[in-house]
């Protein structure tokens, strides 16, 4: 049991570190370091542009989607090299947020089900961030229930004609392509009769409406399909096999989200080290300590659980549903942490204005964004079902 790099790993780390030092957008380092859930501001720059530029730069130098095969725009790296890269990329990794769905879900699904020709055509620009992808799964009537999907795909010669509506599509408004699950046969039971496609988000008949969130931001969209045509060669997996295709995708979502999900603890711990309450450092208050200790061991437990998954990966084992715990634990924890941070500020905690609030309103933004973390990519209840059924083997 050790954290030591092998010689090869050490060499890889050195190379990565050197390249990052020479090429990362240093001018945004501080703002990225301060970024936390619900708050990422780059003064005088559009986050999207900065993110795309950084991703392209990485791709040109062979640092994008490291674990993907070279021919698809990756580097053919081992899982452990990918982790080393993430460690070295540090705060600049936060720029990758807009690519999580594309790289974490769409890419793997394309790799598993698309034709070789399509893979070589579509994956490299996805890896380089030149093309952004989204996933179109959830529907207004569906919620957590993917099997209850209604969006229809009807065969018409070599094409399929899509009609229906999707919701909670993150980044649809800046996406170039998307993977879409549809119902191709309404006559068979719910889980059957589904089929997966990928499509051009600029196709005629697609209408995208951003959803204004409770915290005022808009990360998600409603997407309406009216007689949208998709050529059959953009089908992913067999007709009627969409459910199985989607399981791969969703598990990848939970893994990617689970791996990257924030707990808010580091921010709270730093804050408590600065904050003075009634003339005493907050960190010396026994009540504060009791709270911090409980969150500290959760945050630590998540960190080392991820390390264990990485070790499993590097031994060639495929991480299973146990990764669901990351988001399950962190989702409610970050909400409690934000609430407590405001509590520590007293009446002043109500102020969210970055110019006047404590630590630029970081925790107020976190509080208002956090309810979504317990829902997006599987609600707490769904995640507990997954653990109970797929890990503990309880009946579905």
């Amino acid at each position: 049991m050790n954290f030591d790099d092998t010689p090869q790993e050490a060499a890889f780390r050195a190379e990565a570190r050197e390249w990052i030092a020479a090429n990362a957008p240093k001018q945004y380092e501080d703002e990225l370091a301060k970024a936390s859930l619900g708050r990422l501001v780059l003064s005088g720059a559009n986050v999207l542009d900065v993110a795309k530029a950084w991703q392209k730069k990485k791709a040109d130098a062979g640092w994008a989607c490291l674990h993907w095969p070279k021919e698809y725009g990756g580097r053919g790296s081992s899982p452990i090299e990918r982790v080393i890269w993430q460690q070295e990329e540090g705060v600049f990794g936060k720029l990758g947020r807009m690519f999580i769905i594309g790289h974490g879900m769409c890419g793997p699904t394309m790799m598993a089900y698309a034709s070789e020709e399509h893979k070589r055509h579509y994956l490299p620009p996805l890896a380089s961030g030149e093309k952004v992808w989204c996933q179109l799964f959830s529907e207004p009537a569906g919620g957590s229930d993917v099997a209850g999907l209604r969006t229809r795909a009807e065969r018409d010669g070599d094409d399929w004609i899509i009609n229906g509506q999707k919701i909670w599509t993150s980044g649809a408004h800046y996406s170039d392509y998307g993977i879409l699950i549809t119902r191709t046969d309404p006559t068979v039971p719910k889980h059957k009769g589904l089929t997966m496609f990928f499509l051009d988000m600029k196709s005629p008949g697609i209408e995208i409406k951003p959803i204004k969130q409770a915290n005022g931001q808009s990360e998600f969209n409603e997407v309406y399909f009216t007689d949208v045509r998709i050529p059959d060669h953009q089908r992913l997996g067999a007709v009627g096999d969409g459910w199985n295709v989607s399981l791969t995708t969703l598990m990848n979502e939970r893994m990617s989200i689970g791996a990257s999900v924030a707990t808010g603890f580091p921010e709270l711990f730093d804050y408590c080290n600065e904050l003075v309450i009634d003339g005493r450092p907050a960190i010396d208050d026994r009540a504060v300590r009791a709270k911090l200790a409980n969150w500290a061991v959760k945050a630590s437990g998540l960190k080392y659980t991820a390390f264990r998954s990485i070790s499993a990966l590097s031994r060639g084992e495929r991480p299973g549903p146990e990764n669901s715990i990351g988001k399950l634990v962190a989702g409610s924890m970050i909400q409690e942490v934000a609430t407590y941070a405001l509590d520590l500020q007293g009446a002043a905690g109500v102020v969210s204005d970055p110019a006047h609030a404590e630590v630029e309103g970081k925790f107020q933004a976190m509080l208002l964004r956090s309810p979504a973390t317990r829902v997006e990519g599987g609600t707490d209840e769904i995640l507990r079902n997954i653990i109970a059924e797929r890990v503990l083997g309880l009946p579905g």
């Binding site: 959830s138 405001l342 520590l344 500020q345 002043a348 509080l367 609600t379």
Partner: protein, 375 residues
Amino acid sequence: MNFEFSDDQKQLRDQARRFLAETCPPKAVRAVLEGEAAYDKALWKGLADMGFLGVAIPEAFGGAGAGHLELCVIAEEMGRALAPVPFASTVYLAAEALMLAGSEAQKQAWLPKIASGAAIGTLALFEGPGNPSPQAIKLSAANGVLNGVKTPVADGAIADFAIVAARNGSSGRETDVALYLVDLKAGGVTARTLASVDPSRNQAELTFKDCKGEPLGAASEGWSILTRVLDRAAVLMAFEQVGGADRALEMGRDYALDRVAFGRPIGSFQAVKHILADMYVAATLARSNCYYGAWALSTDAGELPEAAATARISATQAFQHCSKQNIQVHGGMGFTWEFDCHLYYRRSNALALALGSLSYWEDQLIERMRKKNAA
């Protein structure tokens, strides 16, 4: 023993609920939330006309002279409706302070205006982060001239007058703290509105520069008056919080009955049932503690300090829990701007901090129980 509101009080509740259902729908709350106005003037006027603003103010001062149980009833309904008006600041804080410590002239000057809706009042206590404490009060009062900054002040940008906690001594004891009544329109005070987690209520920073204030109550008793005002306000706000918690529970229950997933209403899933059951438990415990607080408030019982802290903690927990879990029951839709869930979530977190944080009141409760136990 009769641990329940009277039939008259229940009628008053129904009347207030009907009135607010008509005059304060969610879109009225959103109008203020989205910045169309600093508060709902029409609603404020309507509350005055209904006699709700002065329900606990003696008739001699233009009120209805009904009493504090009736005010608790109104407060609960204001919470259910998330009324976007300076009710708490004006009625729980300013009016209570005046009735507790105001001179005959001061009462005559302001209480009738409060009851008629002509004047908005507030309490200027906090000076940045921290808990209520005599030491935290730096704003200075030198022979009635105030200099310093108060932030945040609820409804500070729309208030006509404020009760200001100031330091007029240097003994380091709580007797250094005195209260002043300041006409905010008479100059010497500049207000700046601050963005907050609940924009449906105004929060502001007030800067006092050589500002005249007239003493409220005995100079050395400022802090003890303040403590009593905060206890009384804690009970009233707890009712507002319980009203909000109950409404959030109803919203979640209704959605769970309505929304279908996996071919069944989601309310038929045990996980959702148990979330709602726990919301009900929290709201019920809080309501019962509020009744205890209402009894202590209305009878000015010796138990008030404990009862107020108990109601405050319990109601804060219940509203935060119910508004948070209501979003969870709603799933993704609960996190949309369009659904009203976030209005309750925002308000629950704002009210949790007004009058001082949960941690502060927890510490107060045990300190008060300890003292009583030692006595």
